[in-house]
Symmetry: none
Subunit: 347 residues, 2 copies
Amino acid sequence: MRTVEWDYENNHLQLIDQRLLPGEFRILRIEDSQQAGMAIRDMVVRGAPAIGAAAGFGMALAGMRSKANTVVELIAELNQAAEELKSARPTAVNLKWAVDRLIKTVHDSEGDDPERLRIDILRAAQQIADEDVAINMRMARHGADLIHDGDTIIHHCNTGALAAVDWGTALGVIRMAHQDGKKIHILVDETRPRLQGSRLTAWELEQYGIPYDIIPDNAAGYYLQTGAAQKVLFGADRVAANGDVANKIGTYKLALAAFDNSVPAYCVAPTSTIDRDTARGDMIPIEDRPQAEVLALTFEGRPAAPENASARNPAFDITPERLVTAIVTENGIAFPPYLTSLSGLFG
Amino acid sequence: MRTVEWDYENNHLQLIDQRLLPGEFRILRIEDSQQAGMAIRDMVVRGAPAIGAAAGFGMALAGMRSKANTVVELIAELNQAAEELKSARPTAVNLKWAVDRLIKTVHDSEGDDPERLRIDILRAAQQIADEDVAINMRMARHGADLIHDGDTIIHHCNTGALAAVDWGTALGVIRMAHQDGKKIHILVDETRPRLQGSRLTAWELEQYGIPYDIIPDNAAGYYLQTGAAQKVLFGADRVAANGDVANKIGTYKLALAAFDNSVPAYCVAPTSTIDRDTARGDMIPIEDRPQAEVLALTFEGRPAAPENASARNPAFDITPERLVTAIVTENGIAFPPYLTSLSGLFG
């Protein structure tokens, strides 16, 4: 199934509960928009496109569950649900994009039948999900041509089917290259603190039959400096107009190490991730996440930090465009200078 | 107390049991040289200088516990203890160095009084420990002058009292700057995979009353690019003649991020760590450690990697000298070009 999928029989949203992977595969039923917001906040679902699709269906749920008898009442409730959903994760631009797109659907709709509006919203949410899959497959196709037979690829975080509705971004490229018959090996950054690499990317690679080794994030520099890796791939949570990339914490250091060893570092992101209203990466707000995510580790069965230790946990960093070799989108591959090449992708 | 300390009242060795930190502080009594060997093998004590000092006292214990009535008998027993101790961690160079130094003491000793010889050995072991402390304090004194009031410092791995007899290297510098009355804040790289930062460095900083936050190693780049950190400090496992630094995995990426943001990155290491016979860092062999250290994590109580996942786990990387702002030793601070400045430290 897809990571984010509407159940038309029972009229609810289904999400793969990513908090339980890789140990357990479980589908979570989401019954209303509050639950959708919580699932986004609690990272049942994560990854910018998946969050966008989940929020879209969250709006559909807001419509479904509303008891409003008039379009005016329904729109008021939808506007409130939109604000709540958008506040679930501040950095993910797809979240805002998807919710705003549904609000536009609401305002563009004609007539005074709330039931009709409810159906329009669900249809628009489904369209966001379907478009995401189509876009990701086009992105994977473009990106796969950059991968060579025999490449060892360092991959950061999870950017696969689990981060999207299906296929994903950087991991979609890897999956497509593998389907093309290229022999590749993946060095999976475990991606502290939430370990999306060792938990989710490793799990996905096993599903696809792609050979991999998990590495501590600290080790990526070693494999780049010894010439063991030929490519670095990552996704993006937001791309600024100048090509600066906001992505999972640690991407910046990884890209620095790639650059220092003349290894190409490719960002794979749909055009919906490109925020043309944000001139530079340093204008992108960075989410601070709970310190418990850092401190909850145990080591050999014992606590890995002092009892009252404090921690800091920024979720993203900014990789300056000078370190990004190319940005792969569904509309083609952008090379520096990005200000013009990214604009070109929008036609 | 010191990490490695002789109890003159009860005539035994005391070690802080580092396997239990930070959850529990327990002093382990070591009553004979066999127990000393086991403590080294089981990593009750770790860090090259601490291992050397513990082995020295292990030799003293071999003398104490021996029932030999003649010097000849005693020397035979000491030789056997020396072999056993050296085999505890066959690669630790300080271990062999310390044991061999005590064997030399034995052979240099005159007279035929075994009691006198026992005292000479203990005195020589104590001297090894005291020299280590004296060297570290001189190093800390030099380094502390580089730290400014108000600095936020990113620190990698554990380089403190727990890695030595007392004081340590980079963390010794931090402790001295704090004692000097400078207000400093430490961002503690948790240091995957063995988490020496969150387990040991954070614990030490609490003992000294120095404020800190633990960060995922991935987050160091963020704090450097946002201007939140003014210094980067780390130790060394080996320094090549040209100034390349072999240190705990992840040091290279950390130094890259410091360099990219014009933040000074200081290596703190005694001259015994400088290997003038090794021309460059890429000639230093890198130890591969067990993959279990990477894969043993749990996340929110669940396995953090697929059941049959494989991992790679290099213990060190090489930080090229161009990224190292200065190397702090007990004999002074070396600046680039290191080929000449490091030589100068040996007089």
